[in-house]
């Protein structure tokens, strides 16, 4: 009996809930850690990026006004669907990152658990970060955290899945929408994650994942007037300076990130979530 010829997949972008090729028609070869060919990935262009920002902006009113309970369930659903694809993720992570199967499996487990961690946050954020303000006057004053808007994310270059999830999940948990540029050399787990997102009730456009180069797409993301915040993790330290300068043109919130990728297995704190939240203070007089 001869071995079956497997069905090879064409890897595409994830944009507005659909899987288009790059409008530029460009692709680039993706290899495993030893240099063997794995696939051609779509090489996203400036136009793809702008389309992704439009999609994210369009999705923002729906996602940001969904109940926290609903958002939590959607993020938990992402974990559920990932769980069903553990083997596929482990294979891709092992190939991309050049690590042993056991290690890759533990990374996939941690990535799934990270969705669960953030899923549980959605309906606690307002109680932990909001407040009833004891103002000195006859007013009821309260402060609620609200999502900042569209967040541009340059995903980590090394950690192809756990790092990716750790930077994307807090954006979605906050109620913001995301335009994410994956690791350039290790994009396959990101593409597979987008297939998970597409089948997990994440509304179209809420998360948009582009494969391509942070150095090429980052400046457009940083200067785009309809992007509210920027996570420059996937850029080089030198590029982060120019990206932060570009971001100043529209007063973007720019995440402060370490020069080298942190230990992604560590439990996150609230710093990423906080960066994507705006405090809104509401006042009303008391009286009869």
């Amino acid at each position: 009996m001869s071995d079956r010829i497997s069905v090879a997949k064409t890897y595409k972008l994830y944009l507005g809930g659909k899987f288009p090729r790059s409008e530029s028609g460009r692709v680039y070869p993706v290899t495993d850690a030893k240099g063997a060919f794995l696939a051609n990935a779509a090489h996203a262009s400036r136009k793809d990026l702008r389309d992704a920002v439009s999609a994210a902006r369009k999705a923002f009113p729906g996602w940001s006004s969904a109940t926290a309970y609903n958002r939590g369930q959607v993020l938990y659903r992402v974990a559920e669907v990932m769980e069903g694809r553990r083997a596929q993720f482990a294979t891709e992570v092992a190939a991309c990152e050049g690590i042993a199967a056991k290690k890759a499996e533990s990374i996939v487990d941690a990535a799934i658990d990270r969705w669960v961690w953030y899923a549980g946050w959605t309906d606690k954020i307002a109680s932990v970060l909001g407040a009833a303000n004891p103002v000195a006057g006859p007013y009821f004053s309260f402060t609620v955290p609200e999502p900042t808007g569209v967040v541009g994310v340059l995903a980590p270059q090394s950690s192809s899945l756990l790092g990716l999830v750790t930077v994307l999940a807090p954006v979605l948990a906050s109620g913001s929408t995301a335009v994410l540029v994956s690791s350039a050399e290790r994009p396959l787990p990101a593409i597979t994650l987008s297939e998970v997102l597409a089948t997990s009730d994440v509304p179209a456009g809420t998360a948009n994942i582009l494969t391509g180069h942070a150095a090429e797409l980052g400046p457009w993301l940083a200067s785009h007037a309809d992007v509210n915040a920027l996570d420059p993790t996937g850029a080089t330290p030198a590029d982060r300076v120019t990206l932060a300068q570009e971001a100043a043109g529209t007063v973007k919130r720019v995440l402060s990130v370490p020069d080298t990728e942190p230990d992604w297995t560590a439990e996150p704190d609230l710093s990423r979530l906080r960066r994507y939240l705006e405090a809104k203070t509401v006042w009303h007089p008391l009286g009869v």
């Binding site: 402060t143 509210n228 007063v251 705006e278 203070t281 006042w283």
Partner: protein, 477 residues
């Protein structure tokens, strides 16, 4: 004078204890700055109030070194409970010297004495009192068990609320264990230098607070100084962007409180007389020199005529004149430059086809004054609907549905504040939820409290001042 006219009721200028010369405050001492001295004037009379020594770039460096030394050797080592007591002392000293500070503020800034006396100075004291209590309770603020300060904070503040903005900046910085180099605005340095005296009276350790009068170049050099860990700025969006660009890629933590173009939305079920009071307060408080001023009035079409009529009547009763008079509602515009800017934007409103109405109130011949002005038939594309005027000029637009009101309110790159007037609770809460602004006042306007976080969305800046949220900007978290 008619039988129901107000008699003059001026507050005594002598209360300000005005001196001929003021000096920069570095390392606990008043020193001769090596910058070119500036003359600060009373915008209500255009007379020189005092000569103020300014800092040079080398003074900035000296002040940062003093702040660094105070940080490492004293302030960061001091238990929070002890830091707190210094802040409490400062709060009390501000209260004790409140009349002096109010009169001085009014002389230097041009704002009515009733506002400096009843709002600026007491709220400044309240900020120190509030933050004093945090100094030994930071572990309960939600940033981990033992959040650390950043180090030296460089702070640059505007001229519209000179002492109050100083308090918004210095109180949280000191409470969290940072030391400060602050540059007051070029046209309003005096109360900051009296505050420096208060620091001496409170026996605050030298170098913990340094005050450097000067122009924009001194602010820029403070922002760019390599040994500053934190920058806090309140001012225009234009300058805020430059600062963000300067700080980009450095380890400095940045908070910005920038411009605004707030929508004040009046629904058809609003209590119209109360709403009119709120509209007036929203735009004419402090001559409209307020970043969160309700400068775009959005009125539901069905009540627009009635609201405009009531509004014009009410505005025509506002008294413009001597800021030291206790009956004055609108004082002087802070500078000739600002007055020119306001005039330019008002002319653009005329040119673009809006209908201008100006209060017939008498306006003094001398000094920088601008009569309250209301533009109707304003469209969203006009400059007076898009740009921050920072003066007593209101632009009135109309809407038909709540959705349209929200769409128009949010149609701005800013997002600092907004107002809602309605008697219907669910509509207020729905609207408050939809507005992309950091502060929403419903059936009130321009309320401030140290316990209530304040700050903007989008190009109105980032970070908050006040409340538990406001501590984050001064902590290494």
């Amino acid at each position: 004078m008619g039988i129901f006219d107000y008699a003059p009721a001026p507050e005594s200028r002598a209360l300000a204890n005005l001196k001929e010369h003021y000096k920069p405050f570095i390392n606990g001492q008043f020193v001769d700055g090596s910058g070119e001295p500036l003359k600060t004037i009373n915008p209500a009379t255009e007379e020189t109030l005092a000569e103020v020594g300014t800092a040079s770039v080398s003074d900035v460096d000296t002040a940062v070194k003093a702040a660094r030394k105070a940080y490492t050797s004293v302030w960061s080592k001091m238990p929070g409970a002890e830091r707190a007591k210094y802040l409490f002392r400062i709060a009390r000293l501000i209260q004790e010297r409140s009349r002096e500070l109010a009169v001085l503020e009014t002389l230097d800034n041009g704002k009515p004495i009733k506002e400096s006396r009843d709002s600026d100075v007491p709220t400044a004291a309240a900020h120190f009192f509030y933050h004093a209590g945090w100094a030994d309770k930071l572990g309960y603020a939600g940033y981990g068990p033992d959040p650390k300060p950043l180090g030296v904070a460089g702070q640059v503040i505007p001229w519209n609320f000179p002492l109050l903005m100083l308090a918004w900046k210095i109180a949280p910085a000191l409470a969290t264990g940072n030391t400060v180099v602050l540059k007051p605005a070029e046209t309003t340095p005096l109360t900051a230098l009296v505050f420096a005296e208060i620091c001496q009276q409170a026996e605050l350790p030298p170098g913990v607070v340094n005050i450097l009068p000067g122009a924009g170049d001194i602010g820029a050099s403070l922002v760019a100084h390599p040994d500053v860990d934190k920058i806090a700025f309140t001012g225009s969006t234009e300058v805020g962007k430059l600062i963000q660009r300067t700080v980009a890629g450095t380890r400095k933590k940045l908070t910005l409180e920038l411009g605004g173009k707030a929508a004040n939305i009046v629904f058809d079920d609003a209590p119209l007389d109360q709403a009119v009071e709120g509209i007036v307060n929203g735009i004419f408080f402090n001559q409209g020199h307020v970043c969160c001023a309700g400068s775009r009035l959005l009125v539901q079409e069905s009540v627009a005529g009635e609201v405009l009529e009531k509004l014009r009547y009410r505005v025509s009763t506002l008294r413009v004149g001597d800021p030291l008079d206790k009956n004055t509602d609108l004082g002087a515009i802070n500078s000739a430059e600002q007055l020119a800017k306001i005039r330019g934007l008002v002319e653009s409103g005329d040119a673009e086809g809006a209908q201008r109405w100006t209060s017939p109130c008498p306006v003094p011949d001398r000094g920088f004054f601008f009569a309250p002005t209301v533009f109707s038939e304003v469209h969203q594309s006009m400059r007076i609907a898009r740009e921050e005027i920072f003066g007593p000029v209101l632009s009135v637009l109309t809407f038909r549905t709540p959705d349209e009101a929200v769409a128009k309110a949010n149609n701005t790159p800013y997002g600092l504040s907004a107002g809602i007037w309605s008697e219907k609770g669910s509509r207020i809460l729905w609207t408050a939820n939809q507005l992309r602004a950091g502060v929403v006042w419903a059936n009130t306007f321009n309320r401030f409290d140290p316990a209530a976080p304040f700050g903007g969305y989008q190009e109105s800046g980032f970070g908050r001042e006040g409340g538990r949220t406001g501590l984050e900007g001064y902590l290494d978290v």
